[in-house]
Amino acid sequence: MEPLRHSPSPCSSSRPSSPSTPPCEMPGPVGVEAVLEQLKIKAMKMGFEFNIMVVGQSGLGKSTMLNTLFKSKVWKSNLPGLKVPIPQTLQLHSVTHVIEEKGVKLKLTVIDTPGFGDQINNDKCWDPILGYINEQYERYLQEEILITRQRHIPDTRVHCCVYFVPPTGHCLRPLDIEFLQRLCQTVNVVPVIARADSLTMEERETFRRRIQQNLRTHCIEVYPQKCLDEDINDKILNSKLRERIPFAVVGADQQHLVNGRCVLGRKTKWGVIEVENMAHCEFPLLRDLLIRSHLQDLKDITHNVHYENYRIIRLNESHLLPRGPGWVNLAPASPGQLTSHQPFKICREAHKDSEKEF
């Protein structure tokens, strides 16, 4: 970065040069604000990466939801009733797309988990998922500790896991609770009420309250986590979100004509369910959370909190802490080690004070 130069008077000639600051703008005595522009340009050049995982039983509209979120066919959605064999074990499929909007490129990786919760015996069906998430952390860690490492480490870590809760209208099922308890320790989880068009407004509210109560009782911290709110503004914004989580969503990738407007929705005999209409469902809230307002936050928390937690565990396991530029020979993690339920407090400052953790 160019050194700051103190200029006696704000005039464009002696200011540190910033190529894209319009010449007529006076950024203040120092010109630090110019950094924002530079960052923006750099980010646009580099592009963004986002890895999102969807978990839920088959038929809850996961693929359709993804298509609706990113307004493109990122995933071929399975029509209900079409012959789709339920896989015997849980498999993970990941697909990468590069989508572009107004010059901003987003490298989107979508990870699907068909077969979750579909078997008669669903015990430990979350193990493959945890294994995958930890594997991505491991991959990043291995890259990070290389002596000569890449300038930009490819980030395959799961930034967000959207968990689809079936709209029973009662409360969370034992499977949901087991899964959420384990996963909230490792990744940002956003629970949503899937196929919410089967619940009336009152039923939705009752269901939502019960789920929130269940989450509190079992100490499950979903995104946005309360303990990670940095300042008062964050707190206010996130509290509003926390009131509405889990969002009741409906997904649709077909367009219909309603009152002369073309809307995304589901057409039934008794009306058209508009996906982007807040009165019908809370899809816009989910979209705003995931894409418009909190995408970067999701990535930051994944990097600063979840990844650091993983790193600390791994380094403690191999009894070696990185000192200086030496190569740290970490024993490769065995799959069983990190999938066990390890309760520890997530803390933003984890990467600075490791002693505070234990």
């Binding site: 009733g81 079409l82 012959k83 078997q119 409360c171 034992p174 609770i177 009336t200 009306g271 369910i273």
Partner: protein, 389 residues
Amino acid sequence: TQRVVSGEGATRPCLLVPSAWRDETSQKMSKQQPAQFINPETPGYVGFANLPNQVHRKSVKKGFEFTLMVVGESGLGKSTLINSLFLTDLYPERVIPGAAEKIERTVQIEASTVEIEERGVKLRLTVVDTPGYGDAINCRDCFKTIISYIDEQFERYLHDESGLNRRHIVDNRVHCCFYFISPFGHGLKPLDVAFMKAIHNKVNIVPVIAKADTLTLKERERLKKRILDEIEEHNIKIYHLPDAESDEDEDFKEQTRLLKASIPFSVVGSNQLIEAKGKKVRGRLYPWGVVEVENPEHNDFLKLRTMLITHMQDLQEVTQDLHYENFRSERLKRGGRKVENEDMNKDQILLEKEAELRRMQEMIARMQAQMQMQMQGGDSDGGALGHHV
């Protein structure tokens, strides 16, 4: 010998008399004074055409008993549907258990009985609910409780039937089982298939697609077809409506045809009255419209209700003639032994199977010998061989 035959669809019998007597009797009858029991308008009318009315009156006095079992995952609207079907509240003090309780719970059986009376006809309806089905993470054992309940009812009936006082046998056997399929899946789940295969020889299964208001029409058709294909693929025996008799009127035949074509029924239940198009209907109010429960274009609720009511008698009959008889013959063959534990010693099972095989072979050999003897003896009466083994 005289044989009285009632003609096809005829309301009165015709007396078949040998031709030699015909003229004599007809002359005699026309000359005779009409006896007090003969209907003067129709000669030869005996009057047992009145029997169905007598049966009807007796049944009405006795009342009907029907046991319906509902099975399905939590949250599929089973209780709402049952309340909607029978227009009563069968679960007044219902408390939905919280998540923590659900973790520890196993499948339970809850039977509630209600007496419904309509135009003098009494129906004693028992609804057997199965809370906890499909809730656990590992559902391997979740249908054991249900199967043992069904068997218990059969056992009890068998015991009563073989007892001394058979006057007041209470029929608690399960006549029909509504199996609720989730509309969110892509067809049947492994649990659905396993459960239906386990009980299709014990009870009449009527598959029902729950919460049908979450599906568009196309999705519904696709799902129904998919479910029917899977049922056939796995050889699951669901309850088939009997075809309408050829002498029934066209409306009834058409109705039966429609019912058969709509299986599995996709239903929506509700007991709330919503104002729609100026009148009060039972339905569900959404911001985008009202789903009417009793509108055949919205869902198959009316079809399900019609099917249940017009086929209540048939369901009872099939339970008695098919499922109960299967159970009875199995039970009696076992010879009063209690149901063995599944973890029995494999060798023991083998020995028993061998013994059974030998018994069967002996029986077959005996039957063959008998047949040989009879064929040689020229006796055409196959009565001895006709009895159910």
